[in-house]
């Protein structure tokens, strides 16, 4: 089911891309440049190897400003999630219920580089802590590509 709203097209289970611009700065721009072409890259400290999100300019573990952008597989594990039933805005009535999750990314240390994102194409009963998910990027415009996740289902493993 779809409907239109001030947020654009609304589909059940999909939180609309309300933020349409990244307001990127030099330390966040590479993430969005990669997202535009469907790739997930995350800054990693070249001194101590700690990944970090959001891409702050300095490493919280060793205070180094030196970083490299590392491409990840986009696979991850649900650390926690919520099923949002109550629309906080009237235009979200047709989007609920939707799933929002904390995802820990494969190839990182987990904490400190988690992603907060909408999990789509998934019934509320299908998700649990520990569920395996894969990132997708929704192309909003040439600036913003919204990261979302889908469950990795049995037949994809």
């Amino acid at each position: 089911m779809t409907a239109t709203s001030s947020f654009g097209e609304i589909r059940k289970g999909v939180f609309p891309s309300m933020q349409k611009h990244t307001f990127a700065d030099p330390t966040t721009q590479p993430f969005w440049d990669a997202a535009r072409v469907g790739r997930l890259i995350v800054p990693c400290c070249t001194r101590c190897g700690t990944f970090r999100l959001p891409p702050y300019p300095i490493c919280y573990a060793c205070q180094s400003f030196d970083l490299e952008w590392v491409e990840l597989t986009g696979l991850g594990t649900v650390y926690s999630y919520t099923v949002v039933h109550h629309p906080l805005h009237p235009d979200l009535v047709d989007a609920v219920p939707y799933l929002s999750a904390i995802v820990e990314l494969d190839g990182t240390q987990g904490e400190g580089a988690r992603m907060l994102a909408n999990v789509i194409d998934c019934e509320p009963g299908e998700i649990s802590i520990g569920s395996r998910v894969r990132i997708i990027f929704e192309h909003v415009n040439d600036d913003m590509s919204t990261p979302r996740f889908r469950l990795v289902r049995g037949d994809e493993k």
Partner: protein
Amino acid sequence: MSMKDQAAVVGVGATEYYRRGQSYPTESELSLVCKAILAALDDAGLKVQDIDGFALYASSFEPAEVAAALGVPEVRYTATTTGGGGASGASIGLAASAIHAGMATCVVTAYPVQQAKRRYGGSAVATDNGAQLTYGNAALGISSPYTGFSSNSGLLGPGHAAALIAQRHMYKYGTTREHFAEIAISTRDNASRRPKALKKSPLTLDDYFNARMIAEPLCLLDFTLETDGCVAAITVSAERAKDLRHPPVYVMGSAHGGPGRTGPLNWKWLQMAEDDLVSSGSRYPAKRMYEMAGVGPEDVDVALIYDNFAPMVLMQLEDFGFCPKGEGGPFVADGNIRWKTGSIPVNTHGGNLSEAYLLGMSHIMEAVEQLRGTAVNQVDGAEIALVTGGTSLLPMGGTLLRK
């Protein structure tokens, strides 16, 4: 020398409590805060001319405007903690520290709430001016390069973060919705005897499980009310407090803070280590607060715990040491937080969940009434009260008060 017992809360006062938006347009934030301050001054036996300081949290109001409106002769001290409701209890510590340092003699703390135009709960979505995103929106002057990493997640406010934290607590420790229900039900029971409470009808477990889901695992009854109104408190030196209208309520210890990786608003962050994430974040200031006061959780007679969401009460019971970490669920299920029968009565005024949501100030008022022996749901022989602050962003905080 620490500030232990060097200052005392001598006056508390409140406006009428209104359901969200109902104070508008007969009241304004300025009229609400002035009325609460006058009520607190009257309670103390002090006058506007005695006020010389403002110790706030979350920049709750503009002291320059309130001082001008009230006609305060000279302002000598203005400070606010950063963050949100987390430092509500600790703002009394800020007042005490100013008095102990000799920077002020009579300090006001207050938080006016009027939600006619802006709702605190749906922080990321403004509903008064159409479908606008209040962060990540250049037109509104908020365009951080970091908001894009969370704003399209569907996580829009503190309740969504509380849901994620509660879900992980359930997974990690076996906590259940029945445990959260006990907090909602016991708090409502306390409110049922309070004339000012906005919600008085008793709750059953069935009521809880029949309430509509807001953000799983949290239902409507896990959420704070939405309220308009104001509560104010007046703090002076322990010496001066002896001559005022009521017996002094001394500030034994106070602290605010939390893990440095708590981050900004938690529904945009949640990057901290597991033990800090699956918590209220309060165990760090709790430890320093108890050290300053020279007492422990076993000495506390009544706990006024910031209840923005029921699971955060459970986690604060752990973080303030009333039970071991992870055991908050069984602890409340055993009846420990009940008035009259529990080992540590919690939110005897009905809290944010059932009395009114005034960002923690009503908890300070209840602590003072308990220690004066005048509370509606009086805890017999209460000598030490704990007041805590909320859990959505740094700093969290707590204050111990004694008679």
